[in-house]
């Protein structure tokens, strides 16, 4: 009897996912991202202002300054990361799967095989609508963590992507 072994046998030259081949998001989407940061900033600054007014000047100035500085630093940091990380964001549709990549500090790629997609929808926020942008949300049967969302592409692109993916779903059913 031969000695049967079955170690990690992974076929060579499987197609790889190259970060360079991804399609970038529409540049207008940067506006959406920055407006989001602005809103967070306004909330933080507003909260800080209310805090200053309500507290009756018992707090030493040095602490107030350091809080203000911290808020500013965080906002600047997030803005820089968003700006530099933007070219990293992108999606890739291959024959048999769809992927999304993002992240400057932690780079992430998520791929969903087309034969696992449950349904696809196109959604649009208020600001995105004004800019003519849409998101494509791809749902699998997994928990929420395995749902893939591709934001910041033009309405036209989104509709095309949706109908392509929907077509694939009916193929698999």
């Amino acid at each position: 009897m031969e000695n049967f072994s079955n170690s990690v046998l992974i076929p060579d030259n499987l197609p790889e996912i190259e970060p360079e081949t991804f399609t970038g998001l529409n540049r207008k989407y940067l506006i959406v991202l920055f407006v989001r940061i602005l809103i967070v900033f306004l909330f933080l600054a507003g909260g800080f202002a209310v805090f200053m007014i309500l507290s009756e000047q018992n707090i030493p100035q040095s602490i107030l300054f350091s809080i203000a500085a911290a808020i500013l630093l965080i906002i600047i940091f997030v803005s820089v990361v968003t700006r530099l990380g933007f070219p990293r964001k992108g999606y890739l549709v291959r024959e048999k799967d769809v992927s999304f990549q993002r992240g400057l500090i932690t780079y992430k790629v998520t791929s969903v095989p087309l034969n696992r997609i449950q349904h696809v929808e196109v959604s649009q926020g208020v600001l995105a609508k004004m800019l003519g942008l849409s998101s494509v949300n791809i749902y699998t049967a997994g928990g929420t963590s395995s749902d893939l969302s591709i934001p910041g592409i033009t309405e036209n692109e989104a509709q095309k992507l949706k109908s392509f993916l929907s077509g694939k779903i009916s193929e698999h059913e």
């Binding site: 992974i10 197609p15 790889e16 780079y107 790629v109 998520t110 034969n115 349904h119 997994g142 395995s146």
Partner: protein
């Protein structure tokens, strides 16, 4: 069909005994929704001072409720039609629910104390996918619910083997008892539970009660609590030790009771292609687990469990959209011996080829990352506040040492084995956990790499299936990419259904 008098293709009502249950449920719902108004009416309205008025009001209310219950009962039907389970309900607003068989994830039953007295069960049908709805029938004769469970099972089985000629197979396939827990087993399981978790539950519960008491005795509470603190700080270490031991005992007792309530008369039964679990004292559950529907198998053992040689095993099934947010009910089997575990693994995954494959451990850099997270960051964050006290530095040193030990335990257990069909990961710190899945159950894959990992050519992987995520942290970037590509390839060419 000849054996049983139950014909599910005809519209069937719930059990007549269920009327009582419907009545109680409706009363409960009504009172829950309107109790503030009821209170106001009873206490504020002059008319209700009169005893007779109260009596009449209650009577009218009861009569209305009885009429509602009867109408609800009479208009509640279910039946099987084609390949769908159909439910019709409502008398003012009629509602029809239909569930295609191939969408059904699980068919389980539950039985609380009242239902046990009435000999009826709640049947829950859970569906997969995003258009998810959960269907519940609260007052079924247990014989009817068994029939439904059987039939939905049978249909699914014939679905799978549709190529083969449909043989008229005997309907009642023999069930084999795999595991039954005796009171002695329950004792072992209860003792070897995680008492820290139980302790935290009790603590949270105690704090809540304490808060409520505080609300009641508002003005005196301050006095009491300061007295209590004084008492604690003045008392000697013997008393403190006593308190700790007392707390531990309460935790163990609590774990024991929870175990007995949940796993009383636990039975794990096996058919050719499915398992059935029966257990519970006041809340009985009866769950059918088709092998096909198990997305992932988890099992774990801890220091105490190891002494008894037992494992706690969890069948992870697909979570439907509605249940995603809620805590899903665990389909689990505590107190499995090694032989049970091996049997179940063979049933679900076939012969174990994974142990022939070498373990791949997470990189040692993962240790540094964990130590930084558990050890250094808490110490560095607290240093500015306490650096002047010598006792802090002693505590910090102990903290750093023990967190290093903890991180070491984690990294020693963190490995995985994978072949071209399956993957099994090992993890844990004090307890030891394993997770195993077939690769075609994958729903999505994620590759993660921070700039710190990139410098060392490391990366992490997340493998998502319909029941959750399996994480492989800090492995060689090249290996991670290879696995990533292989998983996609494997899932994309796979003809096997994930559910």
């Amino acid at each position: 069909m000849s054996m049983s008098s139950i014909d599910l293709s005809k519209p069937t009502r719930q059990s007549p005994r269920g009327l009582i249950l419907i009545f109680l449920f409706s009363a409960q719902k009504f009172i829950r929704a309107f109790w503030p108004i009821l209170l106001v009416l009873v206490f504020q309205n002059e008319i209700f001072r009169n005893n007779r008025t109260i009596l009449i009001a209650v009577l009218i209310f009861l009569i209305l409720l009885i009429i509602h219950s009867i109408l609800f009962y009479l208009n509640f039907f279910f039946y099987l039609e084609g390949d769908e389970f159909i439910l019709k309900k409502g008398y003012l607003r009629k509602q029809t629910l239909s569930i295609p068989f191939d969408r059904i994830q699980s068919v389980n039953t539950k039985q609380n104390l009242i239902q046990q007295l009435l000999n009826v069960v709640t049947l829950e049908i859970d569906t997969a996918g995003t258009a998810a709805k959960e269907l519940k029938i609260h007052a079924l004769d247990s014989s009817v619910s068994n029939e439904i469970q059987e039939q939905l099972q049978a249909v699914k089985k014939s679905d799978q083997t549709s190529q083969e000629p449909q043989t008229q197979q005997p309907k009642t396939e023999k069930e084999k008892l795999l595991l039954q827990l005796t009171p002695a087993d329950l004792l072992k399981i209860g003792i070897s539970q995680n008492h820290i978790r139980a302790g935290l539950i009790i603590l949270a519960f105690g704090l809540q009660i304490f808060n409520q008491i505080q609300d009641v005795f508002e003005e005196k509470a301050e006095q009491y609590s300061s007295e209590f603190i004084e008492f604690i700080s003045n008392s000697n270490s013997a008393l403190l030790t006593f308190l700790v031991i007392f707390f531990l005992l309460v935790s163990i007792l609590f774990s024991l009771f929870r175990t007995v309530f949940k796993y009383f008369n636990f039975k794990l039964l096996k058919k050719e292609k499915s398992y059935r679990i029966e257990s519970g004292l006041f809340n009985k559950r009866n769950m059918i687990i088709p092998h096909q529907k198990v997305q992932q198998l988890n099992w774990e053992t801890g220091p105490l469990k190891k002494i008894f040689g037992i494992y706690h095993l969890v069948f992870k099934q697909a979570v439907s959209g509605q249940n995603r947010q809620q805590q899903q009910q665990l389909v689990d089997a505590p107190g499995c011996l090694t032989q049970h575990l091996e049997k179940l693994k063979t049933d679900l995954f076939g012969e174990d080829r994974l142990s022939e494959v070498p373990r791949i451990y997470s990189d040692n850099f993962y240790f540094r990352r964990l130590w930084l997270l558990f050890g250094w960051i808490p110490v560095l964050l607290t240093t500015p506040f306490f650096y002047s006290e010598w006792i802090f530095w002693g505590g910090a040193a102990i903290w750093l040492l023990s967190s290093a030990g903890y991180s070491y335990l984690i990294i020693k257990k963190r490995y995985f084995r994978m072949n071209n069909q399956q993957i099994r990961i090992s993890k844990g710190a004090i307890s030891h956990k394993w997770e195993q899945m077939k690769l075609h159950k994958i729903q999505a894959v994620e590759f993660r790499q921070s700039i710190f990992q990139k410098r060392r050519s490391l990366a992490s992987l997340d493998l998502m299936n319909a029941s959750g995520t399996i994480t492989i942290p800090y492995i060689d970037e090249k290996v991670a990419k290879k696995i990533y590509n292989y998983l996609l390839y494997h899932t994309e060419i796979s003809k096997k259904s994930w559910m």
